[in-house]
Amino acid sequence: MPAVKVENISKSYGKTVALDGVSFEVEQGELFGIIGPDGAGKTSLFRILATLILADEGTVTVEGFDVVKDYKELRKRIGYMPGRFSLYQDLSVEENLQFFAAVFGTTIRENYHLVGDIYKFLVPFRKRKAGKLSGGMKQKLALCCALIHKPDILYLDEPTTGVDPVSRKEFWEMLKKLQRDGITIIVSTPYMDEANMCDRIALIKGGRFIGIETPENIRRSFSVPLWAVRSGQMHRLLNDVRAFSGVKNCYAFGETHHFTTGEGFDRDKLWSYLEGLGHTSLWLEPAEATIEDCYMQLAKM
C-alpha cells in the first residue's frame, strides 16, 4: 500500500486554479519532494493532504484512509508543519513543545526519543520565548512540535524558507534521519538545490505536475545541450544571447547565465558575436544540467 495515493485532484479559488488534475503516489518511508516556485499550488496540495481543505475533484488516500471521510482517524497519524507556521511567540520553547505534546495526547518524556536529536539543540534556550529564537531554531522547534506525537507521515510545507544555509543543511540531515526511522516525509521547497536530498521529486508549475522522478533521472532526462556563459556585462548579456540564432532558452543561473541550444548553434560564432557586441572578460563552457535547468526546460514545454 502506498503511503499517499493522490488521484486527479483539482482545486480552484474562484477563478484562480490552484491545482489542476494532480496525481501521484508516495511510497512508505519515502522522502518525497515537491519543487516549485511560490504560487504553484504547493500549499493547497499540503492542505488537502492534511485534511484541512477539500479538493473540488479527485480522491486522496493517506495510509489507507480517505482524507474526506476518515479525517478524524487520519489526524492522529499526520504531522504537519505549515509554511507560515510561527508557533506561539509568547510561549517559551518548552511550553510550546509541552502544549503540542498535550494536544496530541502525549508528553515530551514519552516521545523524547523521537525529537531528542533535534531538541538537544534547543535545550539551552528552553526558557526563551519562541518569538526571540533565530529562524533556524524556530524551524527546529516547529519540527519537534510536528513530530512529538510520533506521526506515520510528516508534511513539511517549505520548512527551510527564510533559514540560513547552515541551518538548512542541518535540517535536511534531520529529515534523512527521520526517514531512516521509518517516517514517510513529503516536503516542499522553492530551493532547487535541496531537491537532490529527496528520493523522488515532483516538479510543480501552475497547479500541474510537470514531472515526477528521482532527482538523478530528472537530470538525466535533460536532452539538449546546455551552456553556461559569463561576461563583464551580465545584464545586457541575457538579451544578447537570447537574440543569437540557435539559442532556445536563456535564463539567469547564479553567477552565470544558462542557455540551451538547438540545431545550427555554433560556439565560436556566438563568441565572436558577443565580442563584437563589446562584452569583456567573456567565459563560455558546456554545463551539467541541474534540477533547476530541468525545471526551466520542463516549464517551457
Binding site: 492542505r47 485534511t51 484541512l52 479525517y71 508543519m81 506561539y88 509568547d90 502544549f99 498535550a102
Partner: protein, 367 residues
C-alpha cells in the same frame, strides 16, 4: 480532558503575558466607572439661577431662599423685567430663571391662584429637564409645608422620585457600563483571540490534531469568562462603595442574569471569529456592529422609549438592551427575579441561538 486543560493553560499564558491587554481588561472598567461617576455626571449641582420678581414679597423671598439653600441651585441674580432674562441667559450668567407673577403672595389666596414660570436654557435638553424637575420639587415641597402650616395655597403638584430619590446618574449608567464591558471582553476579545490563531497559522496545526475544534474554541472562552466575572465583581464593588449605588435586589439573581449575558456574548464572539479571517476584520465587526449600537441603542445613554421605531427594532436584537433592562430591575429597583422574567427568557434564548449558530458554522476544516 488533559488536552483541554493544556489549551486553557495556554490561553491564560497568552492573556497574562500580554501586559497591554491585561491593563486594558482590568483597568477599563475602573476608568469607565470613575469617568462616568464623577466627570461625566449629569447631576444637577450649584446651577446659577435668576429670580424675576416684579413685586418681591415675603413668599417670593422664601421660595428663593429654599432654592438657594438647596445644593442644586445658587441664586445669583434678581431681575426686574422679562427683558433681563434674555440678557442674563446670553451672558451665560444663569441657566434658569424662576419668574414670579404680579402680586404672587396675594394671588395664592385668590381662587385663580398665582403664576410662576420657569425659563430654562434648553440648549442641553436633558439638563434643562433636570433643572425644572428639581426646582419644581423644591417649590412643591415649599407648597406642602405651607399647607401643613394651615395656609391654604391652592393645588401644587408633587413629584416623587422612586428608587433613585437623589436622581443620581450613576443609577442609570452602572447597568449600561456592565453591559458594555462584558460585551467588549467576551465578544471582542474572544473573537480576536481565535482569529489571531488563524492569522498566525497555528490554527492549521491545531485543526490537524485529534482535538475537536469545539474544545479549541471553548478553551478560548474559559479565560475570558473568568475575566468577565472578575470585572463584574469589580464594577459591583465600585458602584456600591465608590458611587454609592446599592444592589437593591438579590445578588444571586443579578449574577445569574450576568452569567447568561456573558455566555451569549462569548458565543457572539465565536460567531464573529468563524466569519472573520483577520484580526482587523474581527475588530471592525465587534467594534462597529456591536459596540456602537450597544452604546447608543441599548438604553444606557438614550432612553429606548423615545427612539423612532426602526431604532427601537434594532435595539431589540441587542443582548445588551435586555441585560441593561434586567439589571435595572434587579439591581436598582430591587425587584424579585420574577419581574425580570421576560428579559431573562429573551437573553437565554439569544444565548441558545448564538451557541447553536456558531457551533454549526464552526468548521472542522479551514474553509
Amino acid at each position: 480532558m488533559r488536552e483541554f486543560g493544556a489549551f486553557v493553560k495556554k490561553e491564560f499564558f497568552h492573556i497574562l503575558r500580554d501586559k497591554r491587554t491585561m491593563l486594558i481588561v482590568l483597568v477599563m472598567p475602573v476608568v469607565l466607572i470613575i469617568l462616568f461617576g464623577f466627570a461625566l455626571s449629569t447631576e444637577v449641582r450649584n446651577v446659577n439661577i435668576g429670580i424675576l420678581a416684579p413685586s418681591p414679597d415675603p413668599m417670593v423671598r422664601q421660595i428663593a431662599d429654599k432654592l438657594d439653600a438647596s445644593e442644586y441651585f445658587t441664586v445669583t441674580q434678581w431681575l426686574n423685567t422679562p427683558d433681563d432674562i434674555h440678557a442674563a441667559m446670553k451672558a451665560d450668567e444663569v441657566q434658569m430663571v424662576v419668574a414670579f407673577g404680579q402680586n404672587f403672595s396675594g394671588g395664592l389666596l385668590s381662587p385663580d391662584g398665582s403664576q410662576l414660570q420657569m425659563v430654562v436654557d434648553a440648549s442641553d435638553a436633558n439638563m434643562a429637564q433636570s433643572y425644572t424637575s428639581y426646582a419644581s420639587g423644591i417649590i412643591a415641597a415649599y407648597g406642602s409645608e405651607m399647607t401643613a402650616m394651615g395656609q391654604d395655597t391652592g393645588i401644587l403638584s408633587q413629584v416623587q422620585f422612586l428608587y433613585n430619590p437623589q436622581m443620581k446618574s450613576a443609577y442609570n449608567f452602572v447597568p449600561g457600563i456592565m453591559g458594555l464591558i462584558m460585551m467588549l471582553i467576551c465578544a471582542m476579545m474572544t473573537s480576536i483571540s481565535i482569529v489571531r490563531e488563524k492569522e498566525m497559522g497555528t490554527m492549521e496545526v491545531l485543526l490537524v490534531s485529534p482535538v475537536r475544534p469545539i474544545y479549541i474554541v471553548v478553551s478560548k472562552m474559559v479565560p475570558y469568562f473568568v475575566l468577565s466575572c472578575i470585572n463584574l465583581a469589580t464594577i459591583l464593588l465600585l458602584s456600591v462603595f465608590v458611587l454609592g449605588v446599592p444592589v437593591a435586589g438579590s445578588l444571586a439573581a443579578l449574577w445569574l442574569v450576568s452569567l447568561i449575558y456573558i455566555i451569549a456574548n462569548l458565543s457572539l464572539g465565536l460567531l464573529i471569529s468563524t466569519m472573520a479571517q483577520q484580526q482587523v476584520i474581527a475588530l471592525m465587526f465587534s467594534g462597529l456592529l456591536l459596540m456602537m449600537p450597544t452604546m447608543l441603542l441599548s438604553g444606557m445613554v438614550f432612553p429606548i422609549e423615545s427612539m423612532p421605531w426602526p431604532l427601537r427594532g434594532i435595539s431589540c436584537i441587542l443582548p445588551a438592551r435586555w441585560y441593561v433592562a434586567a439589571v435595572r430591575k434587579l439591581m436598582i429597583q430591587g425587584l424579585p427575579m420574577i419581574y425580570a422574567w421576560k428579559e431573562i427568557v429573551i437573553l437565554a434564548s439569544m444565548a441558545v441561538v448564538l451557541i447553536g449558530t456558531s457551533l454549526k458554522k464552526l468548521n472542522n476544516r479551514l474553509e
